[in-house]
């Protein structure tokens, strides 16, 4: 035994002292030796459910779609502003209802066939067609007749507001002026898909060997629960400026494993969400750790159909008794930002309504107004969460605050994800933790879920005035007026206290110093087309540092 202990101690000592020459540097987390090949390796987190752009929903899938396909527009790698993609220019009519896109000349699919405006028409009709069962069909709602077709009111998909004027001109007719439409044209749901391949192979058209793409990379290998390997697409219109030979996206679900692989130099990028949260305070000291604002919020959702939560005073009492600073700054060590609103920060031109603040005295007064002075007679209720160490800690903190400030009997209940989703969807809960991630850079993406009867509402709350404000905002062309309407809607929702905000997410990612052209973005979406690996990164330190800063 003593011998074994000596060996173990010896190994530990050696492991502290020894490391590959030139690979370690105390400023960086682990190895900084660039890989042998010009291939970017990152952890995509979960296995994508599908790599069919029209049918997918969710980020692991979206990341793959953006590597393999390209839309009319492409998000700027830093600002996410729409930039020319397959379309090199476009015009919008004055009423904001018609967009005309001009495709680049000579566009081709990876099988060599020509890519035309008709491919976009085919792809978009396919998404709204209820037969395809696309979960993201709602992304096309701004188009004329999209909702009617998707809900089966008309079976004629050719009535969808999109047509090919000729092979290189696409004309889109919207149902209402949609301020963020050019953000949508870069979204994965609106990517073109190859008609011939889909008709030939059916459901297996996305398999390696079958898949035909129009983006910067093509699919080489796909091993379920393991990896997706891609290689440069020589037929991509801008292939000359693609500097990577390929990208490998791994599906590693264990966060520690993912971060270990990054440290050992087997991953070049460990994206946000793939670092165990207790490690973040420790990683902050390294130069390859990056953090920034993320358009996502964490909140508690109140089921207004269950007494006594139908009473706005009860909901306000709960809202005012949450100490957001204590949760985000103390408990979570400043890895999140305390937040008292529904929509996150940083929308250009949006002046948000005042935040909800921690105010225990007002909270007690509201509770008394509801008929429960000092919490007396308040029925026992539960705070529902899906199983996760982070959610548990946060909900325990909220539970303690409510007990301390309001003396209400609240219990925690945790369920694994599928059961939890079932309970919230069918309004079988009292209060539940939830979060919401923005689809596009506009406050509407956070306010839409609270519309009456919206499938994402899950609170039973309904306010005709709120619905009206969102509807008029959707039809408003003038930006300032539109933003004012959204602001009023958010103010009403905050006042009604149905979503009790807690914090605003931040991104936390690890990027090797030799990875260039990969930036933090507000939606945590990344355009990887122009990313490259800098083998002389030590000589370019100041430039690289500039890229990292945000």
């Amino acid at each position: 035994v003593r011998f074994l202990a000596q060996v173990a101690i010896g190994l530990l000592l050696v492991s502290c002292a020894r490391a590959p020459v030139g690979a370690r540097d105390a400023r960086w987390f682990g190895s900084v030796a660039p890989p042998r090949h010009d291939v970017l390796r990152f952890n995509n987190g979960a296995e994508p459910e599908t790599i069919d752009p029209g049918l997918m929903s969710g980020e692991p899938d979206g990341r793959i779609a953006r590597i393999l396909f390209e839309g009319l527009t492409v998000a700027d790698p830093q600002t996410l502003e729409p930039r020319p993609g397959q379309a090199y220019r476009w015009e919008a009519s004055a009423d904001g209802l018609t967009y005309t896109f001009h495709l680049r000349p000579g566009l081709a699919w990876s099988d060599g066939s020509r890519l035309t405006a008709g491919d976009f028409v085919y792809a978009w009709r396919r998404v709204v067609d209820p037969k395809s069962g696309s979960r993201s069909a709602g992304m096309l709602d701004p188009l004329a007749n999209a909702e009617a077709i998707n809900q089966g009111q008309t079976a004629d998909v050719t009535r969808l507001g999109v047509r090919a004027a000729d092979d290189s001109t696409l004309v889109v007719t919207l149902a209402r002026p949609t301020a963020y439409f050019l953000f949508l044209t870069g979204h994965y749901t609106l990517l073109p898909v190859p008609r011939r391949a889909i008709e030939r192979w059916g459901a297996t058209w996305t398999a390696p060997g079958h898949l035909v793409v129009n983006g910067p990379f093509t699919l080489v290998r796909h091993v379920l629960d393991d990896r997706i390997e891609t290689a440069r697409n020589e037929r991509y219109w801008d292939a000359a400026n693609v500097r990577l030979d390929g990208i490998v996206a791994y599906a590693i679900d264990d966060l520690s494993t993912s971060t270990n692989l990054y440290k050992a130099g087997e991953l070049d990028w460990n994206p946000s969400g793939e670092i165990p949260s207790p490690w973040i305070p420790y990683l902050r000291g390294y130069a390859d750790y990056r953090s920034g604002e993320y358009q996502a919020t964490y909140f508690l959702s109140v089921n207004t159909t269950r007494p006594p939560f139908g009473d706005v005073h009860v909901r306000r009492a709960l809202d005012l008794a949450i100490d957001r600073d204590a949760i985000a700054n103390d408990l979570l060590k400043r890895t999140r930002r305390p937040w008292g609103r529904i929509a996150p920060s940083g929308y250009p031109g949006y002046d948000p309504p005042p935040e909800v603040r921690f105010d225990p005295d007002s909270a007690r007064r509201e509770l008394a107004r509801a008929g429960f002075p000092g919490g007396r007679g308040f029925p026992r209720f539960t705070l529902l969460l899906n199983t996760s160490e982070d959610h548990r800690r946060i909900c325990e903190a909220v539970q303690a605050m409510w007990r301390r400030e309001l003396h209400v009997p609240v219990e925690l209940q945790n369920q694994e994800f599928a059961s939890y989703m079932d309970a919230t969807t069918h309004l079988r809960y009292d209060v539940a933790r939830r979060s919401w991630i923005g689809d596009y850079l506009d406050p509407a993406t956070f306010l839409e879920p609270l519309r009456s009867g919206d499938g994402n509402n899950r609170t039973g709350w309904s306010d005709p005035r709120y619905d009206e404000l969102l509807a008029s905002a959707a039809n408003e062309v003038e930006r300032t007026k539109r933003m004012a309407m959204l602001r009023e809607a958010e103010r009403r929702a905050l006042d009604a206290a149905v979503f009790l905000p807690i914090y605003h997410y931040r991104t936390h990612e690890l990027v090797k110093p030799y990875v260039r052209g990969l930036y933090h973005t507000a939606l945590d979406v990344h355009t990887l087309t122009r990313v490259w690996l800098d083998r002389d990164w030590r000589q370019h330190e100041p430039l690289a540092a500039e890229e990292r800063r945000r």
Binding site: S15, P20, I252, D254, N260, K263, E416, W436
Partner: protein, 304 residues
């Protein structure tokens, strides 16, 4: 032959019971396969439910599932509609079989000599050292051992990759982690078996004939001493199969164990049942094989 036939026939009701129970359990779990934080449009949900026949009464779904199972075609996965359960299971199996097979091989290659060594040095230092080693192997669970090995050999020494299934070097740590406990068991069983055999008359006879110690141990004693190890192979294979769930997660190995865990969380009904079916068949076949082997090695065992 009658024994074999009888055992194979017994497979049928056992499998039926396992599948029926699993079918009921997955359907009893709250929440269905088509759920996401973002709502799925009604049209898409209706389409999905129709495609998979989830709108039919449970009994009809059960009947269809059983019919499909008999035909050996479980259809597409719910979570990955573009993939067939059959293909997913066979892909995952190839990886898990390699991981488990190597681990079992290592357990035997290290465990048997270790146990023999301990028995021949009964009560002396070699015995104590080998058994302490074995005790540690049993006592440290693989989800602890795995990260410790990673810490030392990957993140400290940079010798081996910390995870992923990429070439021979990546096999070392997961196989070691998975095998550790079985090395220990095999060593202890071999030692116990050997001690018992060494005290018997035929060993004394063999020694009296003037046979060398190596022949006595290697040819005469080991054969009988290994019988307990052999009986243990069935449960060991089962343990390696289930134990690989944790190891596959820690080392990001794309095997069956991880597939099963994901499928259960995703309520991927067809994939869960496919993996369960596969595990059940594999374990029954392994146990049968062990019984047959037992009969070959020990003349006292009669197959009935």
């Amino acid at each position: 032959v009658t024994f074999l036939l009888r055992r194979l026939l017994l497979f049928v009701p056992t499998l039926w019971a396992i599948l029926t129970l699993s079918f009921l359990l997955v359907h009893a779990a709250r929440g269905g396969p088509f759920q996401s934080e973002k709502e799925i449009p009604a049209s898409a949900r209706a389409q999905l439910v129709r495609t998979y026949g989830l709108d039919r009464p449970l009994l009809e779904q059960y009947g269809r599932f059983m019919a499909n199972t008999v035909r050996g075609d479980l259809g597409p996965s719910y979570k990955y509609p573009q993939r067939q359960v059959r293909d997913l299971v066979s892909e995952g199996f190839r990886v898990s079989a390699e991981l488990g097979g190597l681990a079992l091989l290592l357990a035997l290659l290290v465990g048997i000599p270790l146990g023999t060594l301990a028995a021949t040095r009964h009560g002396r230092f070699g015995d104590h050292a080998a058994m302490a080693f074995a005790l540690a192997g049993v006592a440290i669970p693989n989800f602890v051992l795995g990260p410790v090995l990673v810490l030392v050999f990957s993140l400290g020494l940079y010798w081996l990759p910390p995870a992923l299934w990429n070439g021979p070097a990546s096999r070392v740590l997961p196989v070691l982690t998975l095998a550790a406990a079985y090395v220990a068991y095999v060593a202890r069983l071999t030692r116990a078996g050997m001690l018992e055999v060494l005290g018997q008359d035929f060993i004394r006879t063999a020694r009296a004939k003037g046979l060398s110690e190596r022949v006595v141990i290697g040819r005469h004693a080991l054969r009988l001493a290994l019988l307990p190890v052999l009986s243990y192979l069935g449960p060991a294979a089962a343990g390696i199969v289930t134990g690989s769930v944790a190891v596959e997660t820690v080392f990001a190995v794309p095997g069956l164990g991880r597939q099963l865990v994901h499928a259960a969380f995703d309520r991927d009904y067809t994939l869960v049942l496919g993996v369960v079916l596969f595990y059940a068949v594999a374990l029954m076949v392994l146990n049968l094989a062990v019984d047959l082997l037992h009969a070959r090695l020990d003349p006292r065992v009669e197959l009935r």
